[in-house]
Symmetry: C2
Subunit: 181 residues, 2 copies
């Protein structure tokens, strides 16, 4: 896993991808969200080689999204628990689930989500914090934020960014632009 290259990019997508690094990491996170959090259970569920599982768990711990917690003393055995930052990756897993259900689930969804607040079987939607409408490709303008830089991984991104509207500029305090040194 060459995560360092991506964590150095001036891009939150790349930096998050450096954490959710590969397919094994994704299904390990899925299992942690489902409540399978012991090494042996993860190994048995996934059919994953022990060296790969250990490597990916070490990676998730190093990234601060998973904590190793002893649940037995002799011999010491550990559970892997999502940290607060790790639990916030739930949306990434849910959007993958939603896409997979729509495009790769010929026999129907392998599992369904029941939202406890309303009790209904839920589909996950990605929506706007301000108006609640769905955020769809082509209906969102991408504008420069303060943390952007022209560098490998984002060398041309600034050429295709749009300006922020008046409301946006006020909220952003107008500092820094992608492309500025």
């Amino acid at each position: 896993m060459k995560g360092e290259r991506f964590s150095r990019m001036h891009c939150s997508v790349a930096r998050a991808a450096a954490v959710v690094a590969d397919q094994w990491t994704v299904v390990i996170l899925r299992d942690l969200f489902l409540g399978l959090n012991r090494y042996e259970d993860l190994r048995a569920d996934l059919g994953i080689a022990t060296n790969i599982l250990a490597d990916r768990l070490d990676h998730l711990v190093a990234e601060g999204v998973v904590e190793r917690v002893a649940y037995q003393e002799r011999p010491v055995r550990y559970e892997y628990e999502l940290t607060d930052a790790g639990r916030e990756l739930y949306g990434v897993v849910l959007t993958l689930l939603t896409w997979g259900d729509r495009h790769r689930a010929v026999a129907g969804p392998p599992l369904v989500l029941v939202h406890e607040a309303c009790g209904d079987v839920a589909q996950a939607r990605v929506t706007c914090s301000e108006c609640g409408g769905e955020l769809k490709a082509g209906e969102v303008r991408h504008a420069a934020g303060p943390g952007g830089r022209r560098a490998p991984g984002t060398a041309l991104v600034d050429t295709v960014l749009h300006g922020v509207g008046q409301a946006g500029e006020a909220e952003l305090h107008g500092e820094g632009q992608i492309g500025q040194p």
Copy 2:
């Protein structure tokens, strides 16, 4: 990329992860959503080796999420355009962006989203299709759906699934359960 192993799992998360295969694939998708869709622009933006870029684009085309469209005849040059299924991966990219902005953007967000419907700078939220509330880890029960099977990659998942409530069962027609042959 060993995507086949994941696309064979009885899990929509794993199958979607087989498409959004690795970190390079994620940043290529990001660029396509931003409007950088020519081979040479992708190469220049990402600083990616040509063989890796070609391999990942071939993968995305084979998965049906990207189309190769000629924009010049002599010599023939191609643009890579997201298909409808590809555009539905926007939520995956947005949830990575949101997480990265919250946890890895020390200098502030590199770019911001302006939702055209409301004109505001938007944060992406993952919400319930039924009640509109946010879907947070720990507030969603995971229940067996019709497409689940006990197999490598999902060998133990059924042991931690909950039942669906009455409303859910009616919607699911009650056919098939994870763990049934």
